[in-house]
């Protein structure tokens, strides 16, 4: 049993529950519920920051191009971007497929949820600043060039399912050897581990908080593994991270998504 925080649909505050992975259940307020019976609101409250090229394989895939125009040299500092509030959604919410594109790239990743103001943190003390972990699907419109910020690719409505809950940090031995897997329509399409991060969770927190403060409730996504698959309308995407949980969403044509689904703030 793991302690988690989640927000049942309609509740104003997050509530504490026990997550039983083997039984696929959440126990709260004395009741055991199957995790698929529940409806979840977005659990994160602060700013969600994504990290580009933080899997060794993702950087390796760029090959020699990092030495060529327009990049000229490999990245030195963490490359970050923001997943703004219009992108945030939760378990089982549709991911809208915009009318101007026919494929999306999914982005299975671990979210590190900050528990207190983190500025100039050292990697060996990083865990003091973390509340827990969650799962995110950092969806993007596929783009090859990473020269300019990709707001139009990454910041579409509903492009960051996250949750369904935050699992407390104490329930994981370490965030640095978690297996991440993703299935599309039941077929395993991605398998990787946070062992392959270029900057481990602690190193990433150190290098990010060197230049910007993270606040309680902010979430830092550690990066998307290489070969993240492309998906199309009606595909069901399921992401699993060991010890953290699972996150499932379906790609739905934008025009089929109700106003409620696309206009969350």
């Amino acid at each position: 049993m793991k302690k988690v925080w989640f927000k049942p649909s309609g509740h104003r505050e997050a509530i504490v529950a026990s997550f039983d992975q083997a039984a696929s259940s959440l126990m709260y307020e004395g009741i055991r519920r199957n995790i698929e019976e529940l409806q979840y609101d977005t659990i994160v409250s602060g700013t969600v920051y994504g990290t580009l090229l933080n899997f060794k394989g993702a950087l390796a895939k760029m090959g020699e191009s990092t030495y060529q125009e327009p990049y000229n040299k490999p990245p030195q500092a963490p490359i970050l971007y923001i997943k703004p509030r219009n992108t945030l959604t939760s378990h089982h919410q549709p991911i809208p497929l915009p009318k101007d594109v026919d494929q999306l790239q999914i982005g299975p990743t671990l979210g590190v949820v900050i528990g207190r103001t983190a500025s100039r943190v050292k990697k060996h003390e990083a865990h003091h600043y973390i509340t827990g972990y969650t799962i995110a699907n950092d969806v993007t419109v596929p783009h090859d060039s990473v020269f300019r910020p990709a707001v139009k690719h990454r910041a579409r409505d509903g492009f960051c399912p996250i949750g369904p809950w935050i699992v407390e940090k104490e329930s994981l031995d370490s965030p640095d050897h978690l297996s991440i897997r993703a299935w599309v329509n039941g077929k395993l399409v991605l398998e990787n581990t946070t062992k392959n991060l270029l900057r481990s969770v602690g190193e990433l927190l150190e290098d990010v908080t060197e230049f910007m403060t993270l606040r309680k409730g902010d979430t830092l996504l550690v990066g998307v593994p290489e070969e993240a698959p492309l998906v199309k309308a009606n595909d069901v995407v399921r992401i699993h991270i060991d010890g953290v949980g699972l996150l499932e969403n379906t790609i739905i044509h934008e025009f089929e998504v109700s106003q409620k689904g696309s206009d969350r703030s």
Binding site: P70, N72, L80, I82, N86, P149, V151, R215, S265
Partner: protein, 247 residues
């Protein structure tokens, strides 16, 4: 109407200018130098434009973009009027950027440029500092350059939309230690306010409290520790900031 958010005597107040003083929402009058200024509203999603004035783009040896060059900022980066911004010791080039900030007033999706001003609540001044030493060519400009703590002064006032007759014809000026170093006009934006709202809302939903920093004209020079930087926009006032050392 214009209003500020200030800290006075241990509490946050809304304040309006009155006879050279500030009038708190309770009606009490206080001297300006007794308050601490906060950003005049709490920015939600914050967009900023790169290279949105042709003269500034050529100053940086870039061609004007075909599509708006947009990046996002987090809440950690904002600081109020009369605030302080740190200059790291290893930096050789830190420059200010005087920018018109456009505050969104209601949910906006697929807005046509003809209707764009219906979605604007008001305006303020932003100073979007940049640290050129930290530029790298990945998602450029990245957060290490543009999202450092307290590196985006905002204020002093939230000025209602209808108080500004033509936001696309405002003089912008920057003074460093009293000397005029930057001068331009919002007339010279490549993508104006209506186009930017049309562009952004064409692919994402904008909401109340979102803000667009619309870019800066030519005249960005290096500033040093101890410098007082005043960014000014016609009709919106003057936003002051002091550069301090980061140790």
């Amino acid at each position: 109407m214009k209003r500020a958010r200030v800290v006075f005597a241990g509490a946050i107040h809304e304040a309006t200018p009155f006879d050279g003083k500030l009038r708190l929402s309770s009606g009490r009058l206080v001297k300006e130098d007794l308050v601490t200024w906060l950003p005049p509203f709490e920015p939600q999603t914050a967009f900023a434009l790169g290279l949105n004035y042709a003269d500034h783009a050529s100053e940086l040896s870039f061609n004007a973009p075909d599509e708006p060059l947009v990046f996002l900022k987090g809440p950690n980066t904002f600081v109020g009027h009369k605030g302080e911004t740190e200059r790291p010791e290893d930096v050789t080039f830190m420059h200010y950027e005087c920018e018109l900030a456009v505050i969104i007033g209601k949910t906006a999706r697929n807005v046509k440029k003809e209707d764009a001003y219906d979605y604007v609540a008001g305006y303020t001044i932003a100073n979007d500092y940049a640290f050129r030493d930290y530029l790298e060519n990945y998602y450029r400009p990245n957060l290490r350059v543009k999202n450092r703590d307290y590196c985006t002064p905002l204020g002093p006032w939230f000025v209602d939309r209808d108080d500004i007759k033509d936001p696309m014809d405002l003089k912008l000026r920057t003074y460093v230690n009293g000397e005029l170093t930057q001068e331009g006009s919002t007339k010279n934006m490549i993508f104006g306010i209506p186009q930017l709202i049309e562009y952004l809302s064409s692919f994402m939903t904008l909401s109340t409290g979102d803000v667009i920093l619309t870019g800066t004209p030519k005249g960005t020079v290096n500033v040093n520790v101890g410098d007082e930087v005043i960014t000014e926009i016609e009709g919106l006032g003057q936003l002051s900031n002091t550069i301090i050392n980061r140790t």
